[in-house]
């Protein structure tokens, strides 16, 4: 492991402790990644507890999700690497099982979550007013990760500015040009998901 690998592993481990303390990566759920180079990515190894990560819990993969130096990556690695392959500016991606994203996506069969009127929509790149519409797609869950990656790719073809997506009953994926920006975006998403759930409850 070189120093870049170690620094990024430690940054993701620190993020993992914070995200676990919020209840967003229960048990061994979730997976995290950061770009190492134009053609390689650091990802969490399969089956680790994201609140207790250390440097041994990461490995390098290429953009097809294949390990560069051995190890067993997260089953969902392809969902990470497709982001780095498609978007050259993406340097970090986080997948969390937040309760709000899980519940919202299981509550109704809708294919998109639509947010309007929230000032916090401005947390997303390119949004400068609450009088916009923020759309987060919801994909049906499947254990066939390659098929899921294809659905995501097809959506990106139509909506290249999509800032994040949800997998039904399975949580949220988001990505950004830095880990800090990715964590901020995740905070904004959870806020919006939480408020939307509350409003649906009040509206009955």
């Amino acid at each position: 492991m070189n120093s870049d690998f170690l620094a990024k592993a430690r940054a993701l481990a620190a993020a993992g402790r914070e995200l676990h303390a919020r209840g967003w990566v229960p048990a061994t759920s979730g997976n995290f990644s950061m770009r190492l180079a134009s053609d390689s990515v650091l990802v969490t190894a399969s089956g680790r507890h994201k609140g207790r990560l250390n440097e041994q819990d990461f490995l390098a993969v290429d953009l097809q999700g294949q390990p560069v130096d051995g190890g067993k990556p997260s089953a969902e690695t392809l969902l990470h690497t497709q982001l780095y392959a498609r978007f050259p500016k993406v340097n970090a991606a986080l997948h969390c099982h937040t309760p709000a994203s899980t519940v919202l996506s299981m509550h109704s069969p809708e294919a998109e979550l639509v947010f309007e009127g929230y000032e916090l929509q401005k947390a997303f790149a390119g949004v400068d007013t609450h009088e916009s519409v923020l759309t987060i797609p919801v994909f049906d869950n499947t254990q066939d990760i390659a098929a899921l990656a294809k659905s995501v790719d097809a959506y990106f073809d139509r909506q290249p500015d999509c800032p994040a997506y949800v997998i039904r009953g399975h949580g949220v994926y988001c990505w950004a040009d830095s880990l800090d920006a990715c964590q901020r975006e995740l905070e904004a998403l959870d806020f919006l998901f939480h408020c939307e759930l509350e409003l649906r409850r009040l509206r009955g």
Copy 2:
């Protein structure tokens, strides 16, 4: 930066860490200020994460919101400076995106949130019984901050004792003669907003 500037920047940074831990300033939302002198105010710079503030994340502005020594203040600086300009006793102001204030204000088009029967109403200056009525105005959100400041001013003309206000889908503003008092008032507001939301849910 002189020692007064630094001491106030550090006090607001510490407040920011606490408020972020509560989930009240997700992503880079919210903005904070403290009075430096009769005609100048310390405010948070534009776009910073309020849970990770340091001294470089603040700047001095005059009461019209113009930077004294350069820097780019929060877009909503005018909403802070109007408080210091109008109320000579105000020394601190906090704006947070609390989930409860966001949800309550989006739930219905009401122009005022009215609280009755809570002992905690006594947390506000001049209130000495729960048998009073506490009114918190709700302004519709707009990206035109100067127009919003005008609406707030017009409300203050009619209700000079207004202790705080909400911007729809955008969170809460409160102010006080000290940062400690402002934080206490914010705690009281969040408690009232949270209880009111719970009661609306129970009443269906």
Copy 3:
């Protein structure tokens, strides 16, 4: 201040930090006490933030609530001292504005909260099965503390084993033979209040 006074002040200050972190004493709400002797009690001074107490924030009062060595006790001191006067075994009392006790008591005009079927009812002295009925009285709030103390006394005449009570829109009072036992009882009460609120929501 002698060493017993200091030790108890520090124990209550530590309890206050914990209770504030849970959101049970927002702003300057709540008040705490411990017995000093058969005829004197340590109470929190008026208007202090219960999450930031230090030794100067306490004073000694007699069982009529009068300061022994000066100072201004909490406005509700009489509600504490009546417990020490009536129950010789009581050594600690905590009053908190928990959200669940506030919301439950404002939701309906009932004069008693009744709990059945919870294993945790066994946390209260003399209860050894969930097949019992735990009754917590709710008194209407008033700023006339002497009148409130009389209502509480009249209730105790009928129900001397009453373990705690709620004041409508104003929170919960509980007491025990030690501060540890009092905190445990408060945890149990909040659990029961929280679960009851959830059940009322589900039952619609």
Copy 4:
């Protein structure tokens, strides 16, 4: 106390602090255990606060729940020892009064909680797809622990792969081959219980 006893007592005390901070073992509720040998188990002593355990708060019992060296074990010890007696691979068991398990089990008289469509079902041994059905039995509460243990045994006869169970109004029991695995399973259960409660609320 030998070093194995001490190490396991300290591991359970650390787990207790974490579980208490989450609000899952209010007052003196809950009880914990770890296997010491093929025929002995470490369990929490009766009536201790699970957030403040130290080494003196544990004792060794045999697989019938009888103390090996004196002490008074938790009243529910038999529910722990039956797991170690029946399942040779079990090395740790946790019983917590989580709010979600309490509320869900009191909400309706159902004898089983059924989870479908959650990716997190894969946190349980032998489950490799969300397109499975996870069934958690609910036993009616009784103070007759021997009778309760018999009901649990009868259920295990029919469903030997049962990963956890709930006692109505009384919380959840889970077990695993290590304390770490048991805590992960408990996190997964609480996530599922919490999401299910939210969905029931939304569905009205």
